[in-house]
């Protein structure tokens, strides 16, 4: 999706907005938003980034550039984000607290904004132990909340954490993650409230396969009035097979897949098709839950399916395209 309103040169955000982000515009106008995760290349060739972005760009309002997710090394999120803005895509620059300290992160935030990035996603990050280089030193100077507050301070107060003035602040739409389907369930909504307090303006959740559990979470979120303060994008994705689902459940941190879903995958003749179908159904179910403003599609190694999944779900049909 082309974002032709990139700030060129530096200009103030539109009225009632904090950034030039397309995602922010879509959400604030009440349209159902789509974001999608890009599989980062293990390569230094920009063409690999554009190849991965193309199928996502057909349907997504913003493309997430992951920051060494799962503590596995790939092309950096800032590099991918910069390449995407050059081609007119609107990236979500993911920042994990695992690998860089406050000096590096604040500098990168300015650099990213200068390159036309207008969305960030503040994450704690998976522990180094689950990744491909478990001997690395974990940094965790910030956590996701102090990071959110820091970037908000940079944007709104025009100050670094040191108090030094920033002449032209980074105009960024601030996002955070939430994982409604893992413990402590009863405190997850409180944690969300704390993220909003810290500065989160939109939320992209982890994978949700347990809709009843998510509905319970959303009911509490609505009771607390949080759905009025933050845009929530539910995380979905197609499963490849029952075996892959089991592997993910036991090896990737923070993933909860109910047995019923795995059973369904197991019984299917074509697991690949079934995984896609489950994903389409999930998106349609998410659309009906009050307080859900969009979906975040994480189709690891199945990026080519994202466009089809979104089209089949019909969520864009009711939406006037811009």
């Amino acid at each position: 999706m082309m974002d032709l309103s990139l700030p060129q040169p530096y200009s103030p955000p539109p009225e009632g907005h904090v950034s030039h982000s397309r995602l922010e515009r879509v959400l604030r106008s009440g349209r159902f938003a789509i974001t999608a995760e890009l599989n980062p290349p293990d390569s230094a060739d920009p063409a690999d980034v554009y190849d991965a972005a193309r199928p996502l760009g057909e349907v997504a309002d913003a493309i997430n550039a992951t920051d060494a997710s799962g503590a596995n090394c790939h092309m950096s999120s800032i590099g991918i984000s910069a390449l995407l803005t050059r081609a007119g895509y609107s990236p979500v620059y993911q920042i994990s607290c695992r690998d860089r300290n406050r000096i590096a992160i604040q500098g990168d935030v300015l650099g990213a904004a200068a390159m036309g990035v207008s969305n960030v996603l503040c994450l704690t990050g998976d522990g180094v132990g689950v990744g491909d280089q478990p001997g690395a030193k974990p940094v965790f100077d910030f956590d996701s909340l102090s990071l959110l507050r820091t970037i908000r301070t940079m944007r709104d107060e025009r100050k670094f954490l040191s108090g030094r003035t920033i002449t032209n602040p980074p105009l960024l739409f601030l996002g955070a993650a939430e994982n409604p389907c893992i413990p402590p369930y009863e405190w997850r909504p409180e944690r969300l409230a704390k993220k909003v307090e810290a500065g989160a303006e939109y939320i992209q959740t982890n994978y949700i396969y347990d809709v009843p559990l998510f509905e319970k979470f959303m009911a509490r979120v609505r009771d607390m009035g949080l759905d009025k303060k933050v845009f929530i994008l539910a995380g979905v994705g197609p499963l490849a097979s029952a075996r892959a689902a089991r592997w993910m459940r036991s090896n990737v941190p923070g993933i909860h897949i109910p047995d019923a879903v795995i059973d369904r995958m197991e019984k299917a003749d074509k697991p690949g098709q079934e995984g896609k179908k489950i994903c389409v159904e999930l998106i349609q179910q998410m659309r009906e839950i009050a307080g859900v403003s969009g979906v975040h599609v994480m189709a690891y190694r199945k990026e080519h399916q994202v466009s089809e999944i979104i089209q089949e779900s019909g969520v864009l049909a009711s939406r006037k395209r811009t």
Binding site: T124, F140, D143, P183, P184, G254
Partner: protein
């Protein structure tokens, strides 16, 4: 010491009470500590603090103790040292992503906070740890902070007058002073 830490969190309400008393004592001691010199008491106090808190809370001496806002569960025991709540990797049953044999520090924190009078403090967004304060006494920092707070209040009163009479401050500085007054210059000072 993991079990003593769990005990402390189970009895978070009692420890909250004790902690409040310690804080009050430290604040009351500020004039004495200032006479002796904070520099001189830093090492012995830090040593005692370390001994006590290591046993009770598995304290890591970050120097910026926030136990009252974390259900008496020390957040520095989180392998990611998160100060604002659990990460997204908590395992079924509430166990840690990085150390599966340990309960998530933040699952315990919310549990502890639910029993505390000031448990709602857990909703406060905390800043990142200032790593250069590691190893120093958090108790002494509390009493120094209180003193600083009082100083700030005094300063505010003076600033208000100077702000209200800007001309006087410029032409007759002594009529609307801004600088800190030495104790000897103030009436009522002994």
């Amino acid at each position: 010491m993991y079990r003593i830490r769990l005990f402390a969190i189970r009895h978070s309400r009692s420890f909250e009470w004790i902690y409040k008393r310690v804080e009050q004592v430290m604040i009351a001691l500020d004039p004495v500590l200032r006479k002796i010199g904070y520099d001189r008491v830093e090492r012995p106090v830090a040593f005692v603090e370390k001994c006590v808190k290591t046993v009770l809370f598995d304290c890591k001496m970050c120097g910026q103790c926030v136990l009252s806002s974390t259900g008496m569960s020390c957040p520095m025991n989180c392998p990611k040292q998160l100060r604002n709540g659990p990460c997204g990797g908590v395992r079924p049953g509430g166990y840690c992503e990085v150390k599966p044999e340990m309960k998530c520090v933040w699952v315990l924190a919310w549990d502890g906070a639910s029993r505390m009078k000031g448990g709602a403090q857990i909703a406060t967004v905390l800043p990142p740890v200032e790593r250069n304060l590691e190893g120093s006494s958090s108790w002494l920092r509390v009493s120094r902070e209180k003193a600083a707070h009082l100083r700030e209040a005094r300063e505010k009163r003076r600033t208000a007058i100077a702000d209200a009479f800007p001309g006087a401050r410029k032409n007759e500085p002594s009529a609307a002073p801004l600088a800190e007054e030495p104790a000897q210059a103030q009436k009522g000072a002994k």
